[in-house]
């Protein structure tokens, strides 16, 4: 392994490759801030550039830099504008945006940068050590386990239910799941609940719903009650994290980096479930007085999903590099790039082309480090975005929500849906319905139904729950994630 690490370092630390990774990180960060352009689209766009570079190692280093940059860029728009452009950064908005509203935008971005760096780095270390072993474990996961894993992901809703809000959170989750059933399902290939409208054949767009439930209601609330986002008395450019805060988030980052990595290894699970689950777990294990802080600007609530989603992204490289199986949309595109560069990922990659295998892993370390070094000095300037007067800022926020929905689907009807859902989001916010469960239900609903249906077909009924111990164990974990907080709350009363 040491020899491999040295080969990888030698390749990744050449002047050309260092410039490539810096360029990739910068491009990824800035384009990733645009809602609607997640890592997948940005990498797809950068593939022609990577291929023309000729050298597979340099090309992969560029794409890795773009990947990490895009993830950080996505978190930035989540934290500053409450506009998550990709599912993996939705959970970062839960506490990141309240922090920005309290005048702690600089601190929130710093925590996000450090947590992302730690998540990515710990993930890369785990990848180096466990990659070959984990690839076989990942293959033990079948549809029943995936279904149970989605249920575990849904159990995160308990984390959003304040006092007297459990049924509201449940109803919002059901509404999200119902919305996910609209359109053609992957398994049945039949249009459902489309009312004959062609634009609904492919279902509702994730970005449209995310913008409508998060960014649009916030922007309208800022119009109703005028206030500049930078007017909260805090110093929005201040990056400092106190020693007590660092002590509080360090174990969270450590735990969620490890948990996120292992969830990311499972093909199809990915950063979204890792971030939701990371958030839910940290809230559940936090002391009572800290639990109430979640959703209102808790630093732990921000650090958990940020480290988990970055570690999960690194984890998703395990099946790609060791088995040639892409575990997520982004790694599927990377697989295409590898093939175009005449590199065949799989069990023999480490033996036949060790310089590429190790260069990719080393570029993850270097990419994360470069991203941290580049972004920390930029944070004060990025955070200054909130100091723009509201008369200018609000039309821009609304414009970017519209663009996010439009770019995602390339359909003007999507914009009308965005406004319609946005009005619903505003009404739900007025009535104190928690909105994150709706989005969680929507994101996980499709995958959950597909895996549930496949399991039912394979086992001819629900017997798979009892026949597969791992499924049963995961379902028990999900039930405890919901029941334990309720029981604790009752006892506290």
């Amino acid at each position: 392994m040491l020899e491999g690490i040295l080969i990888g370092l030698q390749t990744a630390l050449s002047m050309q490759n260092l410039l490539v990774v810096i360029g990739g990180c910068l491009i990824g960060t800035f384009i990733g801030m645009l809602p609607g352009l997640g890592p997948m689209s940005i990498i797809a766009i950068m593939i022609p550039v990577a291929i023309t570079m000729g050298d597979p190692s340099a090309a992969l280093i560029l794409l890795a830099g773009v990947y990490y940059g895009a993830i950080f860029g996505g978190s930035t728009s989540s934290i500053l504008l409450n506009a998550p452009g990709v599912a993996g950064t939705v959970a970062s908005a839960f506490d990141g945006y309240p922090m920005a509203r309290q005048g702690k935008a600089g601190k929130a971005l710093t925590i996000a940068a450090i947590a992302s760096f730690a998540g990515g780095t710990i993930g890369a270390i785990l990848l180096m050590i466990f990659a070959p072993m984990l690839s076989t474990v990942a293959l033990l996961f079948h549809s029943p386990e995936y279904f149970a894993l989605m249920v575990v992901g849904l159990s995160a809703i308990a984390a959003f239910a304040g006092p007297g809000q459990v049924t509201k959170a449940l109803l919002m989750t059901v509404v999200g799941l119902i919305m996910a059933t609209v359109g053609e399902g992957a398994l049945f290939n039949l249009p459902r609940f489309t009312a004959g409208i062609m634009d609904l054949q492919s279902g509702f767009g994730f970005i449209t719903l995310a913008m409508a439930m998060f960014a649009l209601p916030e922007a309208i609330f800022l119009v109703l009650k005028p206030k500049n986002l930078g007017d909260n008395g805090g110093e929005i450019k201040d990056l400092r994290i106190t020693r007590a805060e660092a002590r509080a988030i360090a174990p969270v980052i450590g735990r969620q980096s490890v948990q996120g990595f292992f969830i990311g290894v499972l093909p199809g699970a990915g950063a979204t479930i890792a971030s939701f689950l990371g958030y839910a777990v940290e809230r559940n294990i936090a002391p009572k007085h800290e639990q109430d802080e979640f959703g209102r600007g808790s630093i732990k609530g921000l650090a958990a999903p940020e480290s988990a989603n970055n570690a999960a992204c690194t984890g998703s490289f395990v099946p790609l590099l060791t088995l040639g199986i892409p575990g997520s949309g982004t790694t599927a595109i990377l697989l295409g790039a590898l093939i175009a560069l005449n590199v065949t990922p799989g069990p023999r990659l480490m033996i036949d082309e060790p310089q590429i295998f190790w260069a990719v892993i080393m570029s993850m370390f270097i990419g994360n480090l470069v991203l941290l070094i580049l972004n920390l000095p930029l944070i004060p300037y990025i955070a200054k975005l909130l100091a723009i007067p509201r008369n200018f800022l609000i039309p821009f926020i609304l414009f970017f929500t519209l663009m996010g929905a439009y770019i995602g689907q390339n359909n003007a009807t999507e914009l009308l849906m965005l406004v319609g859902f946005g009005v619903c989001g505003i009404a739900l916010k007025f009535a104190n319905y928690p909105l994150p469960p709706l989005l969680i239900g929507f994101i996980l609903g499709g995958m959950m139904e597909d895996n549930f249906s496949r399991s039912m077909q394979l086992y001819g009924g629900v017997s798979f729950v009892l026949e597969r111990p791992m499924t049963l164990a995961l379902l028990i974990i999900a039930a405890s994630l919901i029941i334990v907080p309720i029981v604790r709350a009752r006892r506290a009363r």
């Binding site: 109803l171 509404v175 119009v223 609000i394 039309p395 821009f396 914009l415």
Partner: protein, 160 residues
């Protein structure tokens, strides 16, 4: 009746219509070979409709105890806030959605950004116009020219 119950009532209606479709109409067009499957396209929606109706009823009947909650903005006194500006901005978004294709991205977006600022009370034209022009041009260049995602720049009658 409190707003959350009104919303529960609306959602109850939606869940009933959804459930009716899932329980009674959806399976009519199902191919015979699919009827032998242990799971049908309507199975999951049926479960969801029952859950949705139950949860809506619990909220509607006030079975879960919760304290009355007033957030940052009290919806019962909307007249005290800038409701006119908010409604105009939502209307502007609808107009933008309808104009984006026929009038082209550049014109629609410049107009959206300037009118949006005007609605919010801005009158510094020397700032609004250049900011809107530069921002629109930059976004269009980035999205269409760099990223290759088509955004019709000019009105349809100019043929682009």
């Amino acid at each position: 009746m409190a707003l959350d119950r009104w919303i529960a009532l609306v959602l109850l209606g939606i869940c009933i219509i959804y459930g009716y479709t899932a329980w009674f109409t959806m399976d009519a067009s199902l191919a015979p070979f699919m009827r032998r499957n242990p799971i049908w396209p309507s199975t999951f929606p049926k479960v969801l409709s029952v859950l949705g109706v139950t949860a809506s009823f619990v909220i509607l009947l006030g079975l879960e105890k919760s304290e009355e909650w007033v957030g940052d903005i009290d919806h019962r006194r909307l007249g005290d806030y800038f409701i006119g500006q908010a409604l105009l901005l939502l209307g502007l978004m609808v107009v933008y959605a309808l104009c984006l294709r026929p009038l082209g991205f550049l014109f629609s977006t410049v107009a959206f950004l300037i009118i949006g600022s005007v609605i919010l009370g801005e009158r510094k034209w020397h700032l609004m116009i250049p900011v809107a022009l530069i921002a629109t041009g930059s976004v269009w260049y980035l999205v269409q020219e760099v990223l290759g995602i088509f955004l019709r720049p000019l009105p349809y009658f100019l043929g682009v």
